[in-house]
Symmetry: C2
């Protein structure tokens, strides 16, 4: 399909066109890259109008079940909602998912006419790389999706990366497993606006309540300068409890951030960060792709670790094109 | 002085030679840089044998008073100690110091035959830049200083930087001012191995104890996986209370980290980080120094913020040498 036709079909929210567009921005072939840039320049004026929500948690915490339950609830109570979800492909064992496909795990959501689910095997979330996930978001927004969920596997770095592309991050935790404490330690409460303790049912109910209390008291100690702290919710994605309230608060958060101008401000900052990162990555890529720079880097690093010169000198010799003495 | 003679004089711990050597590594003139590299390659085999201690805290918390008291105590109880200290120059108003010089503020220490104090007006700590501070450390170690203290003003970034060049970071706090909580929030407890609440005397004594209790209970909540948490000490640098115990624990920490191999492991990691940073900074510097790249970066950033293209496309156009459409 020609780029202009693809763009029009995406604007009409045609799913095969959307899939084709996403594949295009994920492609690393240079002729695809040119087309992808053309497509992105067409969609940009129509992008930006969604609530971008990251959902993160360790494997097995119930991210898919939550998205299925929360998505269904939000679609019921918000008739204007168009929901898109970029998920980890669970068929990829390194992502720790089940062997069932997302469309089966999110059965109701995947059949809903106002929902679109895109799985990707190739990364911790959504698309191939963090950069293409950003671009995929723009395509989804131009297609009229006003809630874009990006699922990520909670292993530290991925939350930090996803937090630079979403309006809010929801961190899903298990009751009483200690991972709530690790989350605080790693500073995730500064990244997440919503912390949700799942599996608050049956024999884990009490443990979940205890976890909530511990988190709230830790946050109280951490409160400073009136900076906003994350909301801490309990839910059972399986049984559906706590989901309605969570959905209401998410929509409320989205509206108030947008109205106060906080969303617009955050997005400018995110764009600047992304540009700086793209430029820095491109500089590294160009340098390490030239001649034997990669190999010489490792050689100078070994000299440095052996105590033969300083980091500054190693960098200067590397740039001067020198090889370490044999 | 010729580099070889300078090196020999530094090895004999001659103060004027040490001062000259430090000035050399801080210099940005290219002929000085060549000499500095020669000097550093001579000192490297003799460097690495000190306990490197960062001391950080906001202006007015009493860093100089602590260093004076702690340094005096350590010199009394460790006859073999040779103490060097790189400090913020208090005469520079932007560092928030008093108008007295360091040599007056650290009167006893500055006159001690086994202590050396070097102030620098030009940065948050020690030397001109973080990189030259690293190199200055090597000169001090080759001169036989086995305790090197680097004072930094606690404003966030500087602690993070200094933590990548020291074996331990001591964070000095006021009682009951809220900054202990901000420190936790900013993740400094992951950087600092020693947290010291100063001014635990007179009417602030109770507030200091309360602060210590609050920190300890917050840390208890944060404890995870048996990772070591910082020690929390009370002291009055002015009255000298708590200093002896703190000094003993610092020496103990230094010994156990060195014996377990933790120090050696940490320093390899720090060298690799510094090399990566030097290379990345050099790549940026080279790029932004070429032609109109700096100006074009800002122009493409403005286009990006205006929503006219994506960060990836802006980076590609920047590298392709394009100017944004007028």
């Amino acid at each position: 399909m020609e780029v202009q036709a693809l763009f029009s079909a995406i604007r009409r929210r045609e799913r095969h066109a959307l899939a084709q567009g996403i594949t295009l921005v994920e492609s690393t072939r240079s002729e695809d890259r040119i087309k992808a840039d053309q497509l992105l320049s067409l969609v940009l004026p129509y992008a930006g109008n969604s609530f971008r929500l990251g959902i993160s948690g360790i494997p097995g915490v119930g991210k898919s079940t939550l998205i299925e339950a929360l998505g269904g609830e939000l679609l019921r109570s918000n008739p204007q909602l168009q929901l898109a979800c970029l998920t980890v492909d669970p068929s990829s064992p390194r992502n720790g998912g089940s062997i069932l496909g997302d469309k089966i795990r999110m059965e109701e959501l995947s059949r809903h006419p106002q929902a679109y689910i895109r799985s990707s095997p190739s990364g911790g979330y959504g698309g191939g790389t963090a950069a293409t996930t950003q671009e995929t978001l723009l395509l989804l927004e131009a297609a009229g999706f006003n809630l874009c969920v990006i699922e990520t596997v909670g292993v530290g770095q991925s939350e930090i990366e996803v937090s630079t592309m979403v309006d809010a991050l929801l961190l899903l935790l298990m009751p009483h497993t200690g991972d709530e404490i690790q989350s605080i330690k790693k500073g995730l409460q500064e990244l997440a606006q919503f912390i949700v303790i799942n599996k608050a049912d049956g024999e884990l109910r009490e443990a979940a309540q205890l976890t909530q209390q511990r988190m709230l008291s830790a946050f109280k100690l951490l409160a400073f300068n009136g900076e906003p702290l994350p909301e801490v919710h309990l839910c059972s994605a399986q049984q559906g409890s706590g989901i309605e309230n969570l959905g209401r608060n998410l929509i409320q958060f989205s509206k108030s951030q947008r109205q106060s101008g906080a969303t617009a401000k955050l997005r400018v900052k995110q764009m600047q960060q992304w540009f700086a990162r793209e430029v820095s990555n491109a500089l590294s890529k160009r340098f390490f792709g030239e001649g034997d720079n990669q190999q010489r880097y490792l050689q100078w690093e070994a000299e440095l670790v052996a105590g033969k010169l300083t980091a500054g000198a190693a960098a200067r010799f590397l740039f001067a094109g020198h090889l370490p003495p044999a």
